[in-house]
Symmetry: C2
């Protein structure tokens, strides 16, 4: 493999009969350098096709202009959109992104964090895995002096920058919409309650019912129904009740809502007239089903950009501990056919 020797600042120095330190100063736009020599250095650097060796620079500086991202799964629409948003914003600032997936496992999440710390990333951006109840590994990140931003699924007790959706509000609006459409027995498919997002969505559900003086019927609240299969199973159970629900809010995801729809189809139950269905996340497929599914858009790409901007505004080059701050993005209810009962 032919590896041409790379040009270093010494090569430039030699050529100009000055020292490497002057070259370095010139390249870094230091103000203690003669304008003339600076220009000369820049010119010959360009001529020789000099590229700064970031490995050396990183070692010397202790910074890497790299941001580590940990998500449960890269190939989930929401997360890949957030990553795309982050990439877009960080790229412009010359930052790199190292991506890891935790696969919803606490062990893997810890290993990801360790890897990123070893790589001396300047900041870690994370959405925690469902298994992560104990967040000591995140606390550790802060203790080591590495910046940390949490998004979507966050550890509430950790004082960090957070970018989240206003899940409670969105959920409340969703259920309110169902009530206004005339649905009276509204079931909730809830996700693992150790995750903040699912707790908040449940709270929103409860608040909406309360606002309209509707009772909370415990048999209509189904735990842990956050996949298509679990959503389908929950629906079979719900629809076989003596008094089945007339609407199901799959607060966990559109996939779970899809499970609901499948079962409704199989049981020849009409949507939305006999059963209203509402999902979460605005997955691309929700507008393609028959009927299309009412859902909640989370502005995921935008979320990624917000995360990146937050880093640059609050953290870049800051040595101090950043004051915790929560940015809440208001999701939007997308009303489609699956809940349009009234006309």
């Amino acid at each position: 493999m032919k590896t041409k020797k790379r040009i270093t600042i010494y090569d430039i120095a030699e050529k100009l009969n000055i020292t490497a330190s002057s070259v370095s100063r010139a390249l870094n736009n230091s103000n203690h350098v003669n304008e003339a020599t600076k220009n000369l250095v820049l010119k010959t650097a360009a001529e020789l096709n000099y590229k700064r060796n970031v490995l050396a620079s990183n070692l010397r500086m202790g910074k890497t202009k790299t941001i580590g991202v940990v998500v449960p799964r890269i190939n989930q629409n929401f997360f890949s959109n957030v990553i795309a948003g982050i990439e877009d914003a960080t790229y412009q600032k010359g930052y790199n992104l190292i991506i890891c997936q935790s696969n919803e496992s606490r062990d893997k999440e810890i290993k990801c964090i360790n890897t990123l710390m070893n790589q001396h990333v300047d900041c870690i951006v994370i959405s925690v895995s469902v298994e992560s109840d104990d967040h000591s590994h995140l606390k550790n990140v802060l203790d080591q002096g590495v910046q940390l931003i949490q998004f979507d699924r966050v550890a509430d007790e950790l004082e960090t920058l957070k970018v989240i959706n206003d899940n409670e509000q969105a959920s409340m609006e969703a259920v309110t919409h169902l009530i206004e459409q005339g649905y009276k027995r509204i079931a909730l498919l809830e996700g693992p309650q150790n995750l903040n997002i699912f707790r908040q969505r449940k709270t929103g559900y409860l608040k909406a019912l309360k606002n309209f003086n509707l009772p909370v019927i415990s048999e209509l609240v189904i735990e842990n129904a956050w996949t298509k299969e679990l959503g389908a199973a929950a629906t079979r159970k719900l629809l076989s009740l003596p008094e089945p629900p007339d609407a199901i809010f799959a607060s966990t995801s559109d996939f779970s809502a899809l499970g609901v729809l499948d079962v409704a189809h199989a049981m020849h139950i009409k949507v939305p007239s006999e059963l209203g269905i509402l999902g979460y996340a605005n997955e691309p497929f929700t507008e393609l089903t028959t009927p299309s599914i009412t859902t909640i858009d989370q502005f995921s790409v935008n979320m990624g950009k917000t995360i990146a901007n937050l880093y640059f505004e609050e953290m870049e080059n800051k040595e101090v501990v950043v004051t915790p701050k929560v940015i809440s993005i208001k999701p939007e209810l997308i009303i489609r056919a699956s809940t349009r009962k009234k006309r």
Copy 2:
């Protein structure tokens, strides 16, 4: 920000009254170390919670155990799946992944490559952007002695490792299926012909027609219909022909097939009886539409794993130029309702 001083090999050396070089050797499992001292070093390293400074190591070694990935868009199902597959395999070997998106722009692609080269990645994995006709920037990668793996959309003329789908075969099977279902006037929506994948799919289409002695009708071949909107426009044009097609093969993507389906619905044309529709990529939504869409699965996650394994088998620690090699993954035709004319 409290930054505890990190433990270095010197700290370990001092504690054990040996030199840093011995510590280094012990940690790197060199065979010129006394077993006893090696164990001692490992033990105290663990005690002191020593972590190798990869920045320093990277500088010294000129390698980074990092692989750079360049894709047109991170948040496209196919690509995020490939990335997930790569991550899965590389993670286990202790490698990191730096991700860039070219946004289908040649300029951005070049910048991505430069960034990755500056980061001294050990290998670049790329699927080229649609704009990239001239591949001198990739040739440059090879000239600099950096390993390169192309996948899916590849520059044929560059002699590198390549992981691709057998697009021609898949396309031929798809069209054959249409013919066997009784479709006689089969239209092709083709993508930009500078990309190998779209050329191959066209070839497959032509071969299938030839096999059955069907004529190639040029007005049924529509250039550049590779988005939902372009697919829809093409369909409107096709269906208003004096002799419209009875099937449309959207060889570019399922999105374009979706455009076809939308127009068919709008024009009250029955699918599959009056019009067969066939897509490409097995996007999740294809099984959710009404009717569900026949398409081609590319085994994208598996493709990612194949890429990673290829790197480890052929390239890791190799200083020599790797002999070019093409791994072709056979895609699978997924027959669904949109082409099931016969019963």
